[in-house]
C-alpha cells in the first residue's frame, strides 16, 4: 500500500501525469502523438502494483479516454472530410483540458512563491479581549410597533416560507425519558408523541421511541387491540 502511494504521489492525478509525459517527450501540446502517449500512460499505470480504487479509477478513466481518442484517430475518414478541421480532431477536447490545467499548475507555482515571500513577515496573534456588547441606544416604542405591524402583515400572506427543521433522535430520546420521569414512569403513547410538530419531528420522535425499546429503557404494552398503548420506564 505504502509502496503504491509513494509512486503515485509523484502525480497529482491523470492530468498531472499527462502533462509530465508531454513535457518529458517534448511534445507539442497542440499535436499530441496519441499512440505514444497512450502507450506510456498505460505503461505507467502498470507499474502501480497495488491499486487504490479511489485514485486509480480516475487514472483508468483517463486511460479509457486516451484509448478512445486513439481508436477514433485510426478510423478511416469519409472522403468529404479531406482536411482535418479543429473540431474534427478527437484530441481537441483533451488539449483544451490540458491547457486549462497547465494554466493553473503554473499559477499555483506562482502563488506558492507569494506564500513564501509572505512568510518572511512575522505577525503576532491577536490579544484576547473581553467582548463588550453595549445595550442598544436610541430605541423608540414607535419603531417596535412599526416593526411588529410590518412582520404581522407579511405573515398573513398566502405564501409561507418553508424552513428546514432538524430534530435529532437523541434529543427526542431525552425528551421521552424526561416525560416519563415527570409522569412517574408511565405515559400513554398518544399522550406523548406524534401529536404535534412537523413530519420530521414526528419521525424523529418515533425513531427515538424505537431506539429506547431496543436499548431496553422502556417497555411498550397494550392490554387489547386498539386500546391505549402505554410506555413504561424500565428502571
Amino acid at each position: 500500500m505504502s509502496d503504491y502511494k509513494i509512486k503515485l504521489e509523484i502525480f497529482e492525478g491523470p492530468m498531472d501525469l499527462l502533462m509530465h509525459l508531454i513535457e518529458k517527450n517534448q511534445i507539442d501540446i497542440y499535436d499530441i502523438p496519441i499512440a505514444i502517449v497512450t502507450e506510456q500512460y498505460i505503461a505507467y499505470l502498470k507499474t502501480l502494483e497495488i491499486f487504490n480504487i479511489d485514485v486509480a479509477s480516475e487514472f483508468l478513466l483517463m486511460a479509457a479516454t486516451l484509448l478512445q481518442i486513439k481508436s477514433r484517430m485510426l478510423l478511416p475518414r469519409q472522403p468529404q472530410f479531406v482536411e482535418l478541421t479543429e473540431e474534427d480532431d478527437p484530441r481537441q477536447e483533451l488539449v483544451d483540458r490540458l491547457i486549462e490545467y497547465r494554466k493553473f499548475k503554473e499559477m499555483s507555482a506562482q502563488m506558492e512563491n507569494l506564500l513564501k515571500e509572505r512568510e518572511h513577515f512575522f505577525t503576532r496573534l491577536p490579544e484576547d479581549f473581553p467582548v463588550k456588547i453595549p445595550v442598544p441606544m436610541g430605541l423608540n416604542i414607535n419603531d417596535l410597533v412599526t416593526a411588529f405591524a410590518a412582520v404581522w402583515e407579511s405573515s398573513i400572506d398566502d405564501y409561507e416560507l418553508v424552513s428546514r427543521e432538524e430534530f435529532s433522535v437523541q434529543d427526542k430520546m431525552y425528551d421521552i425519558i424526561h416525560l416519563l420521569y415527570k409522569y412517574h414512569g408511565r405515559i400513554e403513547f398518544n399522550q406523548t408523541l406524534i401529536r404535534k410538530g412537523t413530519k420530521s419531528e414526528v419521525v424523529a420522535s418515533f425513531l427515538a421511541l424505537l431506539e429506547l425499546v431496543k436499548l431496553q429503557r422502556v417497555i411498550i404494552s397494550q392490554q387489547e387491540r386498539f386500546s391505549t398503548i402505554y410506555i413504561t420506564l424500565k428502571e
Partner: protein, 171 residues
Amino acid sequence: MFYLKYKKHIEALLFVSGDPITIHKIAQILEIPEEHIKLLIEQLIEDMAKDDRGLTIIKVAAGYQLCTKPELSETLEKLGQVQDTKLSTAAMETLSIIAFKQPITKIEIENIRGVKIDRVLATLNERQMIKEIGRKEAIGRPILYGTTENFLKCFGLNGLQDLPPLAELLP
C-alpha cells in the same frame, strides 16, 4: 556600541514571541553576549518612552515582554467592543414579536417571521433585550422567551402594560 545593529532584531523577537523571553534566549539566538542584550533592551525601552510610541518593554519574572503602554488601555479596550449601537431590522422585528406575544417559543416566532432566527435570538440575548422565561410543556420542552428589564429601560417603558394594546395594531 558594536552591537547596536541588533536593536531591531530584539524588537522583532519580542514582537513575535508574544510571551516573555529571557535574555539568555535572545543571546543564544543572536549569538552575542548577554550583557549587551541587556544594554540594548534598555536602549529600546528608552526609545519607546518617546511620546509618539505606543509600545514598551516590561520586565516580568520570565524575562522581557513587549506590550502596550498602560495609558492606552482605555482606547485598546474599544477594540473588543461592538461599535454598533443600533438594532437590525431583523432584530427589531423579532424583538417586537417577543414583546407582544411573550411568552413565545423560537419555532412560533419563526412561523410568524418565516425565517430561521437563531442568530437574531443570540444577538438579542447578548444585548440583554430578551431572556428565557421558562419552558413550554410540550414535546421537546422548548424554551419560552420574554423581554428583560433592560428592554423596558431602553424603550422608556415602566412595564409591559405600557406597550400599545395589540388589538389596535392589527387590522
